[in-house]
């Protein structure tokens, strides 16, 4: 019984947060609604029996990515310039091309919709057939075992990925030392 309650609460948080990320103009608020949505997704992981993934979602996203986003918004001017544009938040797409391009565009959109709908319905119908929930017990230890046996290459490669990300991001965001000296020389001349 309670798993359904948990599911509905988490689903509400996820969808509500995601929609408000779209509609909210203030970037700081968007970050907070993203936080809501991410916590909702963590709750959905719990209903799926993926405890460890849920906790990782909390640790990495809530503790890391969201704070990083907030810092970035701070450092780039607080997201203030965007607030006072228009009430309907979604910007209109710039108009380009002529009637023929619009015709072909509409036609291809219809084709895409049909193909996509076909794929989606087949996915959903196959999903109904495969509807037999199985639970994992002690997911942490299974994940640990898998990480050390079958997926050990991924485990090691992820450390290389993180190293690359760390060095790359540190190099990119490092304030250039040349500027410091130039400013110092400017101070002398004035």
């Amino acid at each position: 019984m309670f798993d359904q309650v948990l599911f509905y609460i988490s689903a509400f948080l996820t969808v509500f947060g995601a929609i408000l990320v779209v509609l909210e103009r203030n970037l700081m608020h968007s970050c907070i609604f993203l936080l809501t949505s991410l916590m909702g997704v963590a709750g959905l992981y719990l209903t799926l029996g993926a405890e460890f993934v849920a906790a990782t979602q909390l640790v990495v996203y809530v503790g890391g990515v969201v704070i990083l986003m907030l810092f970035a918004v701070m450092l780039t001017g607080g997201g203030l310039e965007e607030i006072k544009k228009n009430i309907v938040s979604v910007d209109l797409a710039p108009s380009m091309g002529n009637l023929i391009t619009y015709f072909w565009g509409a036609l291809s959109a219809v084709v895409f919709l049909l193909v996509g709908g076909k794929i989606l319905t087949s996915i959903y119908s196959s999903a109904v057939i495969a509807d037999s929930p199985k639970l994992f017990i002690k997911t942490v230890e299974e994940i640990g075992t898998k990480l050390l046996t079958d997926h050990v290459l991924m485990f090691e490669m992820s450390s290389v990925l993180l190293l690359g990300a760390l060095i790359g991001a540190a190099v990119i965001s490092r304030p250039s030392k040349v500027n410091i000296f130039q400013k110092g020389e400017d101070d002398v001349s004035h």
Partner: protein, 141 residues
């Protein structure tokens, strides 16, 4: 199977309680507390002066670099936790050496990252300036 989900009840209840406590205290307080705001009271505090400009100005990029190094180590910790949880079992089964090596490789790769940032001075919070005789700022080293 039902029992499994019961374990998550306290999480939801406690988080809701956190929200309700704040709302409840504010509602109860609104019945008894005074409410006579004036313009000076609603100003941000700046030691008695009129505040100049918004506080939402640009900040030092150092804060960001620290957050950046943190997030990498955060993810590393998240990946290390399941491995650490099974290390003992593998060791008891006699496979400790191989596991130890793979864990050590994982950590060693990330130590290179922190060593790099250390060498390049990203871990220094503020680059300290020294002022020479003519009031010129000179970067250290």
């Amino acid at each position: 199977m039902n029992q499994n989900f019961d374990a998550y009840i306290p999480i939801i209840v406690l988080m809701t309680l956190g929200i309700l406590m704040v709302i409840g205290a504010l509602i109860v307080g609104s019945l008894i507390r005074p409410k006579n705001p004036n313009k000076l009271k609603l100003q941000p505090y700046e030691c008695g002066e009129d505040p100049t400009g918004s506080a939402w100005a640009n900040f030092n990029v150092r804060f960001y670099v620290v957050a950046l190094i943190f997030i990498i180590f955060d993810v590393e910790g998240a990946l290390m936790f399941p491995v650490a949880a099974v290390f003992k079992k593998f060791n008891e089964a006699g496979a400790g050496g191989a596991i130890l090596i793979s864990v050590l490789i994982f950590i060693a790769v990330l130590i290179q990252g922190i060593v790099y940032c250390w060498k390049k001075g990203d871990l220094d919070w503020v680059k300290s300036y020294q002022v020479d005789g003519n009031d010129n700022k000179v970067a250290e080293k």
